[in-house]
């Protein structure tokens, strides 16, 4: 079952240098041919486009959108709607924590549009000159506490999060949802007393890479509670939500922008317009996003 390779102990006989010489030449020719073939095939695809086609649409009919993890469900809906309204267009999404997407864009990932769960990530890109134009804020979101369906730790109010032994999962501090959650906890300390923040932080057992991971841990029942967006709670209908009072809650603002690196400027702008159109805003509302105040 376990493979055992053996080496023959007898050395092979060395041929004269001359006969190795033509083999070396063959190797060089072989590698060179491969390289030429590779370059040639690339050249073909460029030369194959007719001037007429190049003049009419210089853009490919595909769009790459980087969007915050919390936008997963809403944007997938939007993508389908956009493709239906624009036949021949294919929208590809990359959902992850906004901080991860921002890093990927900074490191050269190819994307046309970026939708973030926080203004901070967008502003970093704006300062680096990576946006084409300005960002537009298109929705807001509030935080909520989620617990597994059987509520193992009997969480009834935010105060219960401070109870010793409760396993709380948050997104990591760098993730917008994690940053907002920690801000909200500090605001709740104004309501419940100064020791609330510390007690809750002691209960955090994991800091996840994006907000959907928090949902997953709560759905699995591994965590007693998690702090996520209201939209995530809506998408994971089996979970019970415990509300955070509006005054101690954080309003997350979602900006979207076309990236400077895009080669599909018109299509990207069209996508943003679609998002801000009644159809787009309806889709967002369906998934629990709130309009701008």
């Amino acid at each position: 079952m376990i493979p055992v390779l053996t080496l023959p102990r007898r050395p092979s006989h060395d041929k004269a240098g001359g006969s190795l010489g033509w083999r070396r030449l063959l190797a060089v020719v072989f590698v060179a041919t491969l390289m030429v073939a590779a370059c040639a095939s690339e050249g073909d695809s460029v030369a194959g486009e007719t001037p007429a086609a190049q003049g009419v649409t210089t853009e490919a009919q595909s769009l790459v959108v980087f969007a915050a993890a919390s936008l997963t469900d809403a944007f997938q809906d939007l993508g389908r709607g956009f493709e239906a309204a624009n036949p021949g267009v294919a929208v590809t999404f990359n959902f992850a924590g906004s901080q991860a997407l921002r890093t990927q864009i900074e490191e050269g990932a190819a994307a046309d549009v970026f939708a973030s769960a926080s203004l901070k990530e967008m502003e970093v890109l704006a300062a680096a000159g990576m946006l084409a134009g300005v960002e537009r804020t298109f929705a807001t979101n509030l935080l909520t506490i989620i617990v597994p369906p059987d509520n193992p730790a009997d969480i009834g109010s935010p105060l219960d999060l401070a109870r010793p032994g409760v396993k709380l999962v948050l997104a990591a501090t760098e993730v917008p949802a994690g940053g907002y959650a920690r801000q909200s906890i500090d605001l709740l300390a104004g309501l419940y007393g100064a020791s609330f923040s510390e007690a809750v932080r002691m209960n955090v057992v994991s800091s996840e890479d994006n907000v959907k991971q928090v949902v997953a841990k709560v759905q699995l029942g591994e965590a007693d509670a998690g702090i996520v967006y209201g939209t995530d709670a809506l998408a994971a209908a089996s979970l019970i939500t415990v509300a955070i009072p509006r005054d101690q809650n954080i309003v997350a603002e979602y900006p979207i922008a076309v990236l400077a690196q895009t080669t599909n400027g018109n299509l990207a702008a069209a996508f943003v317009e679609y998002l801000l159109s009644p159809d787009g805003l309806d889709a967002l509302k369906r998934w629990g996003f709130r309009p701008l105040q």
Binding site: I2, R23, V31, T103
Partner: protein, 282 residues
């Protein structure tokens, strides 16, 4: 009859008494593809070290997050490697020397976990040992909850790294000359003495090679750890996790961590190879 040495038990060069003059045993046109692979390894590692040191990565080394992650990584991987050796050596010996029922099943299990993607391993561990897992309630009754603990990190590392050790150890035991074994038993050695004074020393190279693979694999484990143990500085955030998440925070931090982990792995490797060579000459 010559002893044929399996090469999977060690990735290093042959022992001292075997080294001879280099023989031209390979066709010349093997060179380009081989060089390509070497470049694939060398270019990223050199680039990483170069950029990392240039980006002023060294000051980050004293950052508490880095220190915690490094300490946790070293502690958990050492404990995992130790436990793997403790449990893996008897298993490898049994696979090598016994005919027992279910031997085939065990071999399949080892090969399976070897090729299993780490994230799948993480999910599997969660489904088995999580609070709602198959064994979750049973563990809960005894007051044990594994996810989000340092013990879970060690378990995840053991799960993915053990197959490397067991395979190499088994090959090491297989390679011991049958004549040695016969000689020992005719001299009156019992099973334990046979193992302790004949098999174990002679299989030393295989065991050391396996330990190297196992330990460095445990040190670099990520997917199963983040899924099963979670991410918590000081408790479950090992170096690979810190690198992954640090990358999103500040590329400079991630670079520093990467260079540091590369350095630690190299030191570990060198140290173990040295021990291997010492065991070989002994």
């Amino acid at each position: 009859m010559e002893r044929i040495r399996p090469i999977l038990d060690s990735t290093s060069h042959p022992p001292a008494h075997r080294r001879g003059p280099l023989r031209k045993a390979a066709p010349a046109w093997f060179l380009p593809p081989a060089a390509l692979l070497v470049l694939l390894w060398a270019v990223p590692l050199v680039s990483l070290t170069w950029r990392g040191l240039r980006a002023g990565a060294l000051p980050f080394i004293t950052d508490p997050m880095v220190v915690q992650a490094l300490r946790l990584s070293l502690v958990t991987s050492t404990v995992a490697a130790f436990l793997v050796v403790l449990t893996g050596t008897p298993l490898a010996y049994a696979l090598s020397r016994w005919e027992f029922r279910g031997r085939r099943v065990v071999e399949v299990l080892i090969d399976l976990t070897l090729v299993l993607p780490p994230s799948v391993a993480g999910v599997a561990l969660l489904i088995a040992f999580g609070r709602r897992g198959v064994l979750g309630p049973a563990l809960g009754a005894v007051g044990v909850s594994l996810p989000f603990t340092t013990a879970a990190v060690v378990m995840a590392q053991m799960f993915v790294a053990a197959p490397f050790f067991v395979r190499a150890a088994r090959l090491g035991f297989d390679a011991v000359d049958a004549q040695m074994e016969e000689a020992a038993t005719t001299e009156g050695a019992n099973a334990w003495q046979l193992f302790r004074f004949v098999m174990f020393p002679l299989a030393g190279r295989g065991l050391m090679g396996g330990l190297v693979l196992c330990w460095t694999r445990a040190l670099g484990e990520f997917g199963a750890t983040i899924l099963f143990a979670g991410n918590m500085a000081g408790r479950t955030q090992t170096m690979p996790l810190a690198i992954y998440l640090g990358f999103e925070r500040d590329v400079g931090v991630a670079l520093a961590l990467s260079v540091l982990l590369l350095f630690v792995s190299s030191v570990l490797l060198l140290g173990l190879r040295r021990l291997e060579r010492a065991a070989d000459l002994a």
